[in-house]
């Protein structure tokens, strides 16, 4: 399948039609989506916090494209720090890889593996380049219309992050690569969808005021007999 250019809306949730995913792979999308649900809130939270902190501590890096690379590295490092702090609270996922080696920010839940990469253009998927290990990571087997019969699913995924410079909103996009390509040629992916901001269903939560046991206590109420319907008046 060819590259699927999706413009993820920060508030959007999965939309199979828009994501141009055929019915054949819907089951796989659901499988991957379910596996990633626990990451929705922590990833958005960590990167939004990191961007705010970077802007507070290093506002100079926002002045022009020359420093953008530094800002990106700083945000990634701070996000890694934040996710380390959240250890055990990132939806069953944990950090993996060696962050000291070029800022690697990888996650795994024991079965799936995900590399979190930055993209300047939210439609791009960075190609693997020449690194052999990375090229191997990009090489997922083609999706079949049947679920794996044996063993756990072990997709290797990319989670692509991007920050809107105006709203400072962080968005994430999940892609599953199926091979290698070079800059300027279509990315080889077979799954591509935005990561929702919030996975948790909040529709059932509510606060309903209750005045049970809070009846009004009118001073003259006891003085009046039951069924007293005297309708008097009040001088204005």
């Amino acid at each position: 399948m060819g590259r699927c250019c999706v413009a993820p809306s920060p508030t959007s949730h999965l939309n199979f039609r828009r994501d141009n995913i055929t019915s054949m792979v819907k089951g796989h999308v659901e499988r991957v989506r379910s596996a990633l649900l626990g990451l929705c809130e922590p990833l958005h939270d960590a990167f939004t916090w990191a961007e705010q902190l970077r802007r507070e501590r290093l506002p100079e890096l926002s002045k022009g494209p020359a420093y953008r690379w530094h800002a990106t590295h700083t945000v990634r490092a701070l996000a890694h720090y934040r996710l380390c702090q959240m250890s055990g609270e990132i939806g069953g996922w944990k950090l993996s890889g060696n962050h000291s080696q070029n800022g690697a920010l990888w996650l795994t839940d024991g079965s799936y593996r995900a590399r979190i990469l930055h993209t300047l253009d939210e439609c791009d998927v960075p190609p693997p380049g020449t690194n052999r290990a990375r090229r191997a990571f990009y090489r997922n087997p083609l999706l079949l219309d049947e679920m794996p019969l044996f063993g756990e699913a072990n997709d290797k995924l990319l989670i692509l992050w991007n920050i809107n410079p105006m709203s400072l909103v962080v968005s994430f996009r999940v892609v599953r690569t199926i091979g290698n390509w070079t800059w300027g040629t279509p990315a080889k992916t077979d799954l591509d969808f935005p990561l929702p901001q919030t996975a948790e269903e909040l529709a059932d939560l509510a606060f309903e005021p209750s005045d049970e046991d809070l009846g009004l206590e009118l001073p003259s109420e006891e003085e009046e007999g039951e069924g007293d319907n005297d309708v008097g008046g009040i001088p204005g």
Binding site: Q85, E89, V169, V170, D211, L214, L218, V231, G236
Partner: protein, 396 residues
Amino acid sequence: MLAASPGERLRTLRDLLGLTQEQLAAASGVKQSWISQVETSAREATEEGLRAIATTTGTPLRFFEVQSSTVPLDSLRFRKLSSASKVMTRRVHALYSESYRLTESLLAAENYPTPPLPYATADTLTQGDIEELAHQTREALRLAPDKPIPHLTRVLERAGVAIAPLVLTDDPEDAPAGGGHFGVSYWGGVATPALIGYFSGSHGDRERFTLAHEVGHLVLHTFRPRADDPEGEANRFAGALLVPRVRAESCISERKSLVEYARMKATWGVSIQALIQRGAALGLINDTRKRSLFVQLSAKGWRKNEPVVVGHEAPLLLWTLLSRHYGQQPYRPAAEDLAIHPTVLRSIAPTPAERSNKPTKLAMASVHQITSEISNQVTARPGRPDADPPLFPPDS
């Protein structure tokens, strides 16, 4: 007591109904110049002129004879948008002052207790002072020191603070209720009644916060009218009253995500945004964390439309007092006795049936009818000398 000024009362009536001098003149057959001169005390009002206006608008003639409320207008406290216009603020003044006059009468007739609220007198207040006053207020309201408030409206009413939904006659459906005003309050101090008026909106959590904010004004500013930052203090008080410090410290931290704030909202009946502000006020989250949470709120579209519904609280006290004296259809007879336009009564003491749905919308429908009918007359019968019959719709 000074005699009422018919000119001042006439101006108040126009503010209540949202009518210009021209509109009122065209509808009543009284000359606009007459209205203007009476309002500015350039000439004496005549009973004939006032009667024509009273009949046209469905207002008791005695409205022009009663003394305005004892509320000093410069001591009213508002919670409002910065975009609220001066004209609208003047109209809110008029509506609130009339509501206060009615409330005083209704409470006094029933010998209803006055609120036992604490009050601040110090020149400046620290966050700790505000926390302590909020704690004392909970005690005065007979609330547990560390539990969510199940129904703030009823708790206040039980303690003697009357609550009144306010409806301006020409409030458009799609504009902020009350022309950008949220709440208004006044308390004369110990042994005097207190009234909180609020403009009903679509979110119950906003109404609860508005009430708590207005209680803050009653407690913090009744005896400190020149406080430097009364709105900021009242906001911090509202947070402290709704979510006591001891519980906030156990619930809010740098690590809490928005979903966890949403769960807290369902527990406390306080908006996510107010909870974030509460955490910031207590130093439980720093500015960076606060900003990152607000960015995420925006990204999710939660700044204007938060998840977790907070139900509306319906006031009961004024309706109860009114219906005890005037029966289940109290507006017309009470309007005569209390010398007020019936729409004001319908606004501040909506019937239980109206409360169970959107109280203000029903009341607004009736007052829309009045103003639109008067507008129709303006175009249909300009300069008609005779007064029209009352335009007020049948009592509910």
